[in-house]
Symmetry: D2
Subunit: 343 residues, 4 copies
């Protein structure tokens, strides 16, 4: 089959022929890829900057962890889905047996494979991909599979983060979302669909703030690149919840400073470090939550949320042969919408 | 002042002059009534059918427990509100000291007064009413006080019931609301604003079902008066949550039969009895929840929900002098919208 | 192998030879039975009184749904346990794929087998039993497998019911447990281990009440068989939570009458019917919860609770050949402790 | 009356005569102090190191925010307690009107007074202290008021922190408590009483670890002062929950490193800073919670927990005239048990 493969750290992706994936166990499933999203972590993996965490693959390695497609072959033990089903793939292939899997906390499974990420399991920048029945979510027929691509990773992270804070927010609470890239916009949509709070959106781009006004936002803050903390005059210490979808040191610091006593900082984007004073964390009873993608049940719910029209997703399609172009466009910040590769 | 007073069980309300209310303690507040809603329980109290629960007043007694107005006088210990403030009145005057009050469970306060209901404290069918600072919610200026009348009791019950089940419902779950009177319609609005589920509305009136389609409902069921349970063909045993806003024996039975294993029946309306088999309740792991109005914090949140436009409220105004007419119109079922008395 | 088989409704169990169970799928596991508990539901199944719910087997049928043993054979897809492991068997063999299974709500799986109960899957009154890897919980070596027999069903129900109410009870709350048979005693132990409330135990037997004083109970109530409700003088309307481990109509009625506003009735035993007035359920904001055995994760936790010594379990052993005697002793109420059959 | 007063930052406390407190409002209460605990924050206030947070009082200022005593005078609006009642004083005098107060989140009240801390309201290092009815918890007669002194602040923090994590811990989970001073010991007691987890205690003192074995601990870790992180070999990445009762930079770092994916770090002690990488916080889905004393309802529950004997409290009594000695003994680390001043 054709695939866009990584041949070395820092090398351009190469559109070339690799071996077709084959069933290896009774619960395996082969999926013909309809589309696979291109994610910021693909850039980091390709550059080698995650090498100390993920190790080094035997190149060539196929990236891609955000995939929808059609089932073309199933293992002997698979009955829940059948050939021809349109499916979204949860990013992990989990063991199904450990306590975390049994309790619905799939993302904590210690024996999971992470295709396209773990440096040994091939991902979705290809015509076909091998997955497991436990990773498949059957897609509703009302919409195109393309409408669910980003739901399998980027939007899943946003939904998971929002779902975890719902028990803590109520009408009248003020929630700030910092960073209006795709994840931040999707977090805004999820918050609008599932709660009724005073939503404040913040970004360094005035255009993005204008767009956000369509998403249920009641107020916006234009963040100064020079002195981010000064952008928040009059709001510091008054906010119930902050979603930091940037994760830079300056956004984390602002997020923390915005919180009122008892407030929560939910970290969705990553990159920088937060210096958390224990005197402040206790004296102001602050909670900081990191978020790691989302569990399988989260994906089931998110697919329903999209199907019902409560939230919507958009993307920019590239042919698989232009995978390198998509990576570079993502890297340059030129994109508006999720880049997806279509074989 | 003028008031619509109850002079005996079963007697027509009399529009007459009674003594003005006076401050009796440092936390008391006198409110000039803008409007007071007329509630089904006013009919029951007037008929005497609740006499065994509530006792018998020294007539004349002033009904009315759903009031908005303007503060005209405050006790020496009141600083949180001031003369001239527009306020909604939580239906109870609570002690503020007991464990339930301290923990925000105001409705469980054993020492509360219930103006217009408890047969000793005068209610809101009058030009003025005495309340306490702890019962007042300051109203936002964006809307008219009239937009909040029903929020102080009827809508509060719906919101409270919805809020209690939010932790148990998720995208993809099926929720049935039985009974599309004001409370049921408002429950639908709250569910639409605060969750994203498959909403099914059920009523004996086809017109009401048509109207419900504006409120985020994905499906409707026309309930047969003859054989209600037969109306649900194909749904029995498949529903995650039922709100019974009727509370008749037949609706309770249908509600129970609709539930899948692990399902919940939330009772909002009252009247009939439910025969709950312990074999069914355990074998199907059923939860049944009764709902009693709403706590003070619920009212704060509901006022925000209305202010933000997430839900809307409508009413039919009567002059206070036509209180008896409003009672009779409510009794006859002729009303569409909450009847409110305007002094 | 030898088994105690049911040859017809109402017939005595027959100790005879039946075919050995065989692996049928890649996730199957054959377990040599160390012990299987005898449960009240075995009596009901044998009598035929559950025939309208469960259907009718092709006799002979092997009962038994509360089993511990040793793994003797595993399917090709099994890696989480190995031959020789001591295991407790969760009562259901669940599909592992449906949303309920994926979210840890195993008991709601619509495709589950229920060995010894579902009238088509053989149970544990035998030398060997077939189960699935997803039903196995590896047992800790500090204790004997016998210490975990009842944990797989009877105690599991008690633990599950207690776990579900923990979010609602706090130091100072009053919790009543009605019925001090094995399940009631175990519920008391779980409540003592996992909360700090005022525990009140109620039973018709003074001896059982005396024993209960060892289990952290602060007060006891001797229930009159004649007029049960009169036994509760001075407590009616004051209790936060009632566990009804009897489930008779009179105990359900008493349980409901005991509750204060906002109180909960948790039904663990079953048999009778509760007449629930919607006026009372709403006016007193009552919650009624039925409980159905326990999820797989509940069993994992319960095994830990027993291993740590926080709760203890006892039993009365019968050789498998005396299964009928055990059934009759259970039926007569002569037993103190869980009857278990040892092949 | 006599009091131990602070006459300047860094000055010794002076045992001298000051004016008696007087009722100032209808909800005020004058309490004759039985005992007031001496807290680490008293040292910080006295040194002036909190001056930038708390401001500077008009000296002399009376410290002390952990008080039990007997009611000797009540305001006109007080009916919930009466002269002669033994009471514990919640550390804050809250407004009772704001949304946080109404919802039971007293510690977040923005208008609260903090006697002995806020630099304008006199505290409990004196014969009498003025408080409000909303701060009083009536004490049970089974025990001496002295058994509840530390419950009003130090133990309250431990209980509050434990209560907040109870929904997240289950039998089989591993919980580490770092730092076995009074707060850490009390946290261990609360965890033993209210959960059943694998408790691991860690400290730099072997003696304290030996003592901890009485408190339900299943394992201990002796922390090396030189290289704290090396003390945890084999546990890093495996722990579900860490309570850091020290709050030093090194203990915070160790706590974070101990956590498994999905783990929580609960900060109870304060002093150092935590460098929280957003990559780690998201990739490992870490939650960090700061804890600020405890709400009024927490204190009600804690008083019940102590009354029932589920947890016990000890102290070292000093006459009020030796307040300075108590401060110095606390400062030197010589104390075992809470120091309390007895007028």
């Amino acid at each position: 089959m054709l695939a866009a493969v990584m041949t070395g750290f820092g090398q351009e992706l190469s559109h070339t022929t690799v071996e077709d994936p084959r069933l290896q166990g009774p619960e395996d499933v082969i999926v013909r890829v309809e589309a696979t999203g291109v994610c910021g972590s693909d850039l980091h993996i390709r550059s080698g900057s995650l090498q100390n965490v993920l190790g080094r693959p035997d190149f060539p390695y196929v990236l891609g962890h955000e995939t929808v497609g059609t089932v073309v072959e199933i293992g002997a033990g698979v009955s829940a889905i059948k050939v021809g089903d349109a499916v979204a793939l949860h990013p992990l292939i989990t063991c199904g047996i450990c306590q975390d899997c049994r309790a619905g906390r799939d993302m904590y499974c210690a024996d999971a494979l992470f295709p396209g990420v773990d440096q040994r399991t091939s991902g979705g920048f290809a015509e076909f991909v091998r997955t497991g029945v436990r990773s498949c979510v059957k897609l509703p027929k009302e919409l195109s599979p393309m409408d669910f691509v980003a739901a399998t990773d980027a939007w899943l992270t946003a939904y998971h983060a929002v779902k975890r804070v719902l028990p803590f927010i109520r009408p009248g609470f003020t929630v700030v979302v910092i960073g209006l890239g795709g994840v931040g916009q999707f977090a805004l949509q999820c918050l609008s669909a599932l709660s009724s709070v005073n939503l404040v959106a913040a970004d360094i781009s005035g255009d993005r703030l204008s767009d956000a006004r369509q998403l249920g936002v009641s107020d916006t803050v234009l963040v100064s690149s020079d002195r981010p903390i000064d952008s928040w005059n009059g709001r510091l210490g008054s906010v119930d919840l902050v979603f930091d979808c940037v994760g830079a040191t300056s956004s984390l610091e602002s997020g923390l400073a915005l919180l009122r006593r008892g407030g929560m900082l939910s970290i969705v984007g990553a990159g920088g470090d937060l210096n958390l004073s224990s005197v402040a964390a206790t004296g102001r009873e602050i909670t900081v939550m990191g978020n790691y993608v989302g569990h399988y049940e989260d994906l089931l719910e998110l697919v329903e949320l999209i199907r019902s029209g409560a939230v919507t997703s958009s993307h920019v399609a590239y042919p698989l042969s232009q995978a390198e172009q998509a990576m570079q466009d993502l890297s340059s910040g030129r994109l508006s919408g999720r880049a997806v590769l279509v074989p």
